[in-house]
């Protein structure tokens, strides 16, 4: 398995170049999406929630509770959308990986170069989201920086395993199924919209094990400023293990699929 800095840079430049054609659209989406959700759910629904003063929210407003959870969940979605489809298409016949690995680029170069770009997309989306959240008054300016880092880590924890899997997928319908049957349930039940503590006991245990729950908790504790250092280390290590594990598996699957 070879890896070269040149190769990785070349691969990442390719994706960046492609992005130049569509970035305007994605900016609109990445600003509009959080703004709409925060306005409708944070303000609108928040009006009803805050009226009740539920003990589950530990005294924070629904907007402040929701924003970091939504951010973590949005980064999961961005990671999935950026890594599942594009990786799958690139690995198929006449895909860009096939073209790239016919040159001195190795499969590992292709993987890392692409992940670098996906990471860049996650970082920029997290930044716009966090700024929008700040503008809504959901997070203080001083915590925007750490929040972006936490959210990017959450996104990467999905990006690398999904890329490792997507390269092996034969039928695109599976990718769609993965989004609807795995990502959406995670989105809904990992403490994004309500506190996991509300769930019945066994479901709570399941929810706490999911990567998105770890990401949501990390982002929320950073954003609300009530972070327990030990918990932060715990959540971060969980996510970091996923990132590294995804990379390790991806190195193998990319090698296997692209040199077959």
């Amino acid at each position: 398995m070879q890896l070269s800095a040149d190769g990785v840079t070349q691969a990442w430049r390719y994706w960046l170049l492609r992005y130049r054609r569509t970035w305007r659209g994605t900016i609109v989406i990445s600003v509009a999406n959080p703004a709409l959700f925060l306005a409708a759910l944070g303000f609108g629904l928040g009006k009803l929630v805050d009226h009740e003063h539920s003990a589950y929210l530990h005294g924070s407003s629904y907007l402040a509770f929701l924003a970091p959870g939504l951010l973590a969940a949005a980064m999961m979605q961005t990671a999935y959308i950026e890594s599942a489809g594009p990786v799958h298409v690139s690995a198929r016949r006449a895909g860009v990986y096939r073209v790239a690995t016919a040159t001195p680029l190795s499969p590992l170069d292709a993987l890392l170069g692409h992940l670098l770009f996906i990471g860049f997309r996650i970082l920029t989306s997290a930044t716009t989201f966090a700024i929008v959240a700040w503008a809504f008054g959901a997070v203080p300016a001083s915590r925007v920086g750490p929040l972006v880092l936490a959210a990017t880590l959450t996104g990467l924890a999905f990006a690398t395993p999904v890329a490792a899997w997507a390269v092996t997928v034969e039928r695109p319908a599976l990718l769609n199924g993965g989004f609807r049957f795995v990502i959406m349930p995670l989105y809904m039940f990992s403490g994004t919209f309500f506190a996991v503590a509300q769930l019945p006991g066994w479901l709570q245990a399941v929810a706490r094990c999911t990567p998105l729950y770890q990401g949501v908790q990390l982002c929320r504790s950073v954003s609300l400023g009530d972070a327990d250092p030990l918990a932060v280390v715990g959540h971060s290590s969980y996510l970091a293990v996923l990132v590294v594990g995804g990379l390790a598996v991806g190195a193998r699957t990319f090698q296997r699929v692209l040199t077959a």
Binding site: I29, L36, L48, E52, S54, L57, M188, F189
Partner: protein
């Protein structure tokens, strides 16, 4: 049915038959479309419902939050089911696969193909509705037997948005354009009183929201689901039927211009 009538309905039935055959390969999609509102219901209806408690002022004694949200999620699912089927899939068939071209080389006409596709989309909306109603009945979230009126309501919603989708399909220039469709659909979903009553908004905003087709679709299903059946339902149904009819008229004209030049 007389033979002449049967002859007129036959092309529509054939388009439905074609879609049903495709469905044998893609039935999981329907499952996903029923699952999505159920997930929303579980998460926001039940989960956030605990944080919200009961909604005052929506009828006696008071309405639980999940019962309030469920019909709105159903209306959204019926809308998406129909709109995706026509806007996205019809565009694909029109411009990418171009399969309407060989169909039009047979005795089938543009109008029959379009009406057939819309009929199928309506059928899908109804299937999604029946599936969703079955699930919420199991959850014990059915407040009134009038909820069955929702099947008819879903057909009206399906018709309206299938026709709008047809019109969209004739305008779209490429798949990236569907981003703009999303940009309209998402805020409509979020603001059309899906998750909270109209009373949250100041009056001018209320008027704007009342003009949204999804708001009317939600009204059409929410009333009967909560046991409130009155003449206002006819107004909502009328609004959706007129909107659908206009979209169909315009969409057909554009489709004819695209397909038979």
């Amino acid at each position: 049915m007389t033979t002449a009538r049967y002859e007129r309905a036959r092309p529509v039935a054939v388009m439905i038959e074609r879609n049903l055959r495709i469905y044998r390969h893609t039935w999981a999609l329907l499952l996903a479309e029923i699952l999505e509102p159920i997930l929303y219901l579980g998460s926001i209806g039940l989960g956030v419902g605990v944080l919200v408690g009961h909604l005052p002022g929506l009828g006696a004694p008071s309405v639980g939050y999940p019962e309030f949200v469920a019909p709105a999620l159903l209306a959204t699912a019926a809308m998406n089911g129909a709109l995706n089927e026509t806007a996205f899939l019809m565009y694909n068939r029109l411009a990418v696969e171009r399969i309407y071209q060989p169909i039009l080389a047979t005795p089938m006409s543009v109008g029959e193909v379009a009406v057939g596709e819309i009929a199928w989309a309506v059928l899908r909306s109804v299937m999604i509705t029946v599936g969703f109603l079955g699930v919420i009945a199991v959850f014990g979230l059915v407040a009134s037997p009038w909820v069955l009126l929702g099947v008819l309501g879903a057909a009206v919603i399906g018709f309206c948005f299938a026709c709008v989708g047809l019109l969209v399909a004739t305008w779209v220039r490429g798949f990236p354009d569907f981003q703009f469709v999303q940009l309209v659909m998402l805020p409509m979903f979020l603001f059309a009183t899906t998750f909270y009553p109209l009373g949250v908004y100041p009056r001018p905003v209320q008027v704007a929201v009342e003009c949204l087709p999804l708001y009317q679709a939600i009204q059409l299903l929410r009333g009967p689901a909560l046991g409130q059946v009155d003449a206002a339902l006819l107004l909502s149904a009328g609004y959706l039927l007129v909107l659908g009819g206009l979209a169909l008229h315009w969409g057909l004209r554009r489709l004819r211009r695209i397909l038979s030049v």
